[in-house]
């Protein structure tokens, strides 16, 4: 395929894309923190963050995006770590002789709350899913963005 001439995206898009990263992390944190009481969970939060990362890729192009956000190269570790975290949150009860996904504190016990944030093990599961989704989608974006330049 002959590479078509690509117009560089508008300067506004390039700037805004990078600036959005902070706010979207905030939104993700909110989605996770209040997920148990209201709309939202780790999956939605993860996809929302990935969307901004995708916007950065679209705005800057693969190579430049990864140069601007060097933290992206940890995406595989993020995905694997998130999965392990989620699995650990589900299977730790086996060590205590209980069925998997028996969350703590158990039914009827008191839950420590910091504002809307409830400290219990489903939160770990949600954080794990969030990390996994961000990691997986970033890996996908990386490959779809890079291989064009490399293969051809």
């Amino acid at each position: 395929m002959s590479r078509r001439e690509r117009k560089r995206p508008d300067a506004v898009v390039r700037v805004v894309a990078r600036m959005l990263l902070g706010p979207v992390l905030m939104v993700a944190a909110a989605l996770i923190a209040k997920g148990y009481a209201e709309v939202g969970d780790g999956f939605g939060a993860g996809v929302a963050v990935s969307l901004v990362i995708a916007l950065v890729y679209v705005a800057l192009g693969g190579a430049e995006a990864e140069a601007a956000l060097p933290v992206l190269r940890h995406a595989p570790k993020l995905a694997v770590g998130g999965l392990l975290l989620a699995l650990a949150s589900g299977f730790f009860p086996l060590l205590l002789g209980e069925p998997p996904v028996s969350h703590r504190p158990a039914v009827g016990e008191h839950v420590v709350k910091i504002g809307a944030l409830e400290l219990f093990t489903p939160l770990v599961l949600d954080v794990g899913v969030f990390l996994l989704v961000v990691g997986v989608l970033t890996v996908l974006l990386h490959h779809l963005a890079r291989s064009d330049d490399e293969v051809r």
Partner: protein
């Protein structure tokens, strides 16, 4: 030792040198088999033992093993012969690998399977549960697949392995069906309980017949015998173990284990008699003219296990006791003969009787011990084999004159082919040079030959084991009392006439040759192997026809999923009364907004169907996604709506990125106009079938939403899980295990994508 110092061919001398090092893996296997042998022997002598604990309680499955007489007999046979065959294998495999220029690491492809096979045999021998029996039965088949196909570079070895696997595993399914039938009727898989509970009746008869089919196929009985001669492509230790004392014995073991069930049906017993009789005659006659050493022994095995099936078909105390004794005596003699054949082939490089001869002077020890094993098989006095035929004749006499005549014919055939085997091998004019064979290839044969002779002198240990085993399979007390009687009792006369007839068969070589050749040709032309091959080819043709149709292009692959699904749904509708089931509710308020959005979806779907450009398709497709997300939001599912929106956006982006890498041209540009039109019509029909089916299903479901107690239950329990949002609580808690599996799948999927795009590099 049977070692000749002479002009040894250079290549063979090289192969006798231990270049691959000691086969410690094989020796470990042998030592383990010896340890298990000692344990089983100790366990049996101290009165046996039984363990039983739950395996899958919800399915009523238990891991129940018992070391009763029958289990002890087969476990001792499998581990005892196993110890010797494994020791023999350490020598044989080294020579074999060196001869083929394969590295020592190939031993890891051999010994683990052999050891697992021995374990499976012990498990099979002691299992007291039909499902457990099935598991071990198939485990032996899987092991045999890898062992028969050990020389995977050779086509016939691979085909033989597949044939053995298919014949024995497919018929093993019969056993599973029988187990399920019996469970449905009597509520247990436990064999002792089933024996106590079953009565006569069609269910018992069918189950018994199925069990018998599984056993008969495993024991290589006519008409499912054809896999065994092919399986001789295996290395000799495999044949000496699997095809004398283990794999084929497993079939008879199953028949013995469930024999009290088989006895509930006279038809099944008669069937066993017929199959056994046919196997004796066909195996024996074909063995008479085989040229390849191991083929003689393979057809002999078919014939010998025919004896056993015949005896179990006769049933009765005499039949069961005789069968148990026979397994023991035959297993010992036959593995010795297989190992002797392997030793001869290693020494001379020849495996055909016509190219061998006169080895008696070169390898006197091997000749003597092989002669003893052959004598035991041919039931000559002073060997344990004599008693096996004596008991066999007693059982046959009890079943009537026809069976008695068959028994004499069987013994005569055995005498003739095994005498021919030994005479052509060790007597006459030397035809080939014989090189050195290591002691480890001869000693196991000698040990088994000595056991055969000792058993002929003191039969009591064999007899007590056979008594215990026969008691289990008969389901009632019996005693096996082998002894020499120097009088004119019918058994002795039958034995004498068998030897005389056998001698005549040996002398009358020409007519015997014709008969055997005629039978072999008839078998080649009309035999069951032809049916097997034709069946296999037909299956292959069907498979490739379906495959071609399905994967011709992306559209046919999708149609292959959608059209059958649609047709099945249509069939479901055809047999379900649907009058009045479809309703349309009133439209009010927000519904008008929902209707508008759904109308948009319909229009957009039509636009997509007509679009020629991929980019258009993707973008317009995202309109459907967003419209549906809006519908979710309107009907009160904000969680779903949120996920739908973010996922839809992400999906469209990924879709576009992926599309950028496809070629710009239409894939069907090379096709004729006519073909293109036909393809388009096919696409329309496939889409319509699938779409209408989904439409009807969804409408039907929305007309009568299932009154689910699950949903209200989940809503009621949500506060107990410290949650306010039911959807999140379901995902994280109620169905948390599903979520864990799904997210694992997500990572696996991305690894798959990476493997396709970048050869597995994650970044």
């Amino acid at each position: 030792m049977a070692v000749v110092r002479g002009d040894v061919p250079a290549g063979r001398e090289a192969s006798a040198r231990p270049g691959l090092g000691l086969d410690w893996l094989g020796w470990i296997a042998s030592a383990l088999a010896a340890v298990v042998f000692a344990l089983v022997l100790g366990g049996w002598l101290t009165g046996g033992m039984a363990v039983s604990f739950p395996w899958a309680p919800t399915l009523d499955l238990r891991l129940s093993f018992a070391l009763d007489g029958l289990g002890a007999l087969y476990a001792l046979l499998a581990t005892g012969v196993g110890t010797l065959v494994f020791a023999y294998g350490t020598g044989y495999l080294t020579v074999h690998l060196e001869h083929e220029g394969r590295p020592a690491g190939e031993r890891w492809r051999f010994w683990p399977w052999m050891a697992l096979f021995a374990v499976a045999m012990v498990g099979l021998a002691t299992a007291q549960d039909l499902v457990l029996l099935f598991v071990f039965f198939d485990l032996t088949a899987v092991c045999s697949y890898f062992l028969i196909g050990f020389d995977r570079g050779r086509r016939e070895a691979r085909n033989a392995a597949l044939m053995a696997l298919l014949v024995t595993v497919v018929s093993a399914v019969a056993m599973l069906v029988a187990a399920v039938l019996l469970y449905a009727e009597y509520g247990t898989f436990s064999i002792p309980e089933l024996i106590a509970r079953t009565g006569t009746g069609p269910v018992t008869t069918i189950a018994a017949a199925l069990l018998a089919v599984a056993g008969v196929a495993k024991s290589a009985q006519v008409p499912l015998h054809f896999w065994l001669p092919r399986a001789m492509a295996a290395p000799t230790p495999v044949s000496a173990y699997l095809h004398s004392a283990a794999m084929v014995a497993a079939g008879v073991l199953v028949i013995a284990r469930v024999h009290p069930l088989l006895e509930r049906s006279a038809a099944v017993l008669t069937g066993l008699v017929v199959v056994g009789g046919l196997s004796i005659v066909i195996g024996g006659v074909l063995a008479l003219r085989q040229d390849v050493l191991k083929q003689v022994l393979a057809y002999s095995t078919i014939s010998q296990y025919g004896y056993l099936v015949l005896m179990y078909g006769i049933g009765s105390a005499a039949g069961n006791g005789a069968a148990a004794f026979y397994v023991l005596a035959h297993g010992v003699a036959k593995s010795a003969l297989f190992m002797a054949a392997g030793a001869v082939t290693v020494a001379t490089g020849e495996d055909r009787l016509s190219r061998l001869g006169g080895l008696g002077r070169r390898m006197p020890l091997l000749a003597v011990v092989t002669g003893l094993a052959a004598a035991s098989l041919a039931a000559l006095p002073l060997t344990v084999g004599f008693f096996k035929d004596e008991l066999f004749f007693t059982a046959a006499l009890g079943a009537g004159p026809l069976t008695a005549a068959l028994a004499v014919a069987a013994a005569a055939l055995t005498f003739a082919y095994i005498a021919r085997f030994w005479i052509l091998l060790f007597l006459g004019r030397p035809q080939t040079e014989a090189g050195e064979v290591s002691r480890v290839l001869v000693a196991p044969v000698a040990v088994l030959a000595v056991v055969s002779v000792l058993g002929g002198l003191v039969a009591a240990p064999f007899a007590s084991l056979a008594t215990a085993a026969g008691t289990v399979s008969h389901g009632g007390a019996l005693t096996v009392t082998p002894a020499y009687h120097l009088d004119a009792r019918p058994e002795n006369i039958m034995a004498l006439s068998a030897w005389v007839f056998g001698g005549l068969l040996l002398v009358a070589r020409r007519p015997v040759g014709w008969a055997s050749r005629g039978l072999a040709e008839a078998g080649e032309r009309f035999g069951p192997r032809r049916i097997y091959e034709a069946g296999l080819h037909a299956l292959e043709r069907v498979s490739s026809a379906v495959h071609d149709r399905e994967v011709r292009d992306l559209r046919t692959s999708i149609a292959a999923v959608l059209v059958p699904a649609g047709v099945l749904v249509a069939l479901a509708f055809a047999v379900t009364p649907t009058a009045g089931a479809y309703t349309t509710g009133p439209v009010a308020g927000l519904d008008w907004l929902v209707l508008t959005l759904l109308g948009l979806v319909v229009v957009v779907a039509l636009v997509i169907a007509g679009a020629r450009d991929r980019l258009t398709v993707v973008l317009v497709l995202s309109v459907i996604g967003f419209a549906l997300a809006a519908v979710y939001a309107l009907v009160g599912a904000p969680d779903v709506a949120l996920v739908a929106v973010v996922v839809e956006t992400m999906l469209t982006l990924v879709f576009l990125a992926a599309l950028a890498r496809l070629p710009a041209e239409q894939p069907d540009r090379d096709l004729d106009e006519a073909v293109r039109v036909r393809n388009r019509r096919r696409d329309v029909v496939a889409g319509a079938v699938a779409g209408l089916a989904v439409f009807a299903t969804v409408w039907g479901f929305l007309s009568q939403p299932a009154a689910s107690t699950v949903a209200s239950d989940l809503i009621r329990r949500t506060p107990a899980a410290h949650g306010g949002d039911v959807v999140t609580v379901i995902v994280a808690d109620f169905r948390g295990l599903d979520t864990l599996v799904e997210i694992t799948v997500l990572l696996v999927a991305v690894i798959g994508v990476v493997a396709l795009l970048r050869r597995g590099r994650l970044w």
